[in-house]
């Protein structure tokens, strides 16, 4: 069974996103939440590693956290899907375990 990985800090503050993406298995999912959603924006120095991860895993960003921070759908890296809290719940139940990268 696959793993859902959550990342809640900005990739410019912590190495959590970088570390998380280094521990993915095929079929896993990454969900950026809270300040972690800054990692979903295109054009930043974090974008290449997220784009690379999309080859292995699905990548999501929590929509309420995106809108709270003024990040619009058009700002997202291609392939990163916004989900709401209900979608977050669905991801937790779909994958076999949730690993939080704090």
């Amino acid at each position: 069974m696959s793993t859902l990985h959550t990342v809640n800090k900005s990739p410019f503050e912590r190495n959590a996103l970088h570390s998380c993406l280094g521990h993915l298995c095929a079929g896993d999912a990454v969900l950026m939440i809270e300040d972690g959603v800054f990692g979903a924006r295109k054009g930043s120095s974090a974008a290449p590693m997220v784009q690379a991860a999309l080859q292995t895993a699905k990548v999501y960003a929590l929509a309420p956290d995106l809108s709270a921070r003024g990040i619009k759908p058009g700002d997202l890296i291609d392939g990163v899907q916004p989900v709401d809290y209900g979608g977050f719940v669905d991801l937790v139940t779909l994958h076999g375990r949730t690993a939080a990268w704090l």
Partner: protein, 130 residues
């Protein structure tokens, strides 16, 4: 499914408690069961009834207490973490010679074993922290 929730941070300083609350609420709306919400590290600070947050913003303690009451949730504050940070119920206050207790309605103080048990009993465990 049965979900176990772990909250590692206190209210307001980190978003963890907000996210955990919204997640728990969404899970209940989808018909899932919540085995336990376990508050650890500074998360125990979600369980004090003495906060007076500004009225134009959310009151996290009240939100948790009300969600807990509405859905009969087991909101557990870790005793060791609570002792370190000054969250006491009446028994703890008496036991340690303190002149007041401050646990919020709907929360109960218990041991770390409750966290492990929740991990054993639930289908999924999710951690919200910093």
């Amino acid at each position: 499914m049965q979900l176990a929730i772990v909250v590692n941070e206190g209210p307001y300083t980190h978003q963890a408690s907000d996210t955990a609350y919204q997640f728990t609420k969404a899970a209940l709306e989808k018909g899932h069961g919540i085995t336990r919400v376990f508050f650890y590290h500074d998360g125990v600070n979600n369980g004090t009834r003495l906060t007076v947050p500004p009225t134009d913003d959310r009151n996290l303690q009240k939100l948790w207490s009300e969600l807990g009451e509405q859905h009969k949730l087991d909101l557990v504050v870790c005793v060791a973490a609570a002792q370190r940070r000054g969250i006491l119920d009446a028994d703890e206050a008496r036991r340690h010679g303190k002149d007041v207790n401050n646990i919020a309605p709907g929360f109960r103080i218990s041991g770390l074993g409750q966290l492990i048990e929740a991990g054993i009993q639930a289908d999924r465990l999710v951690v919200f922290g910093d």
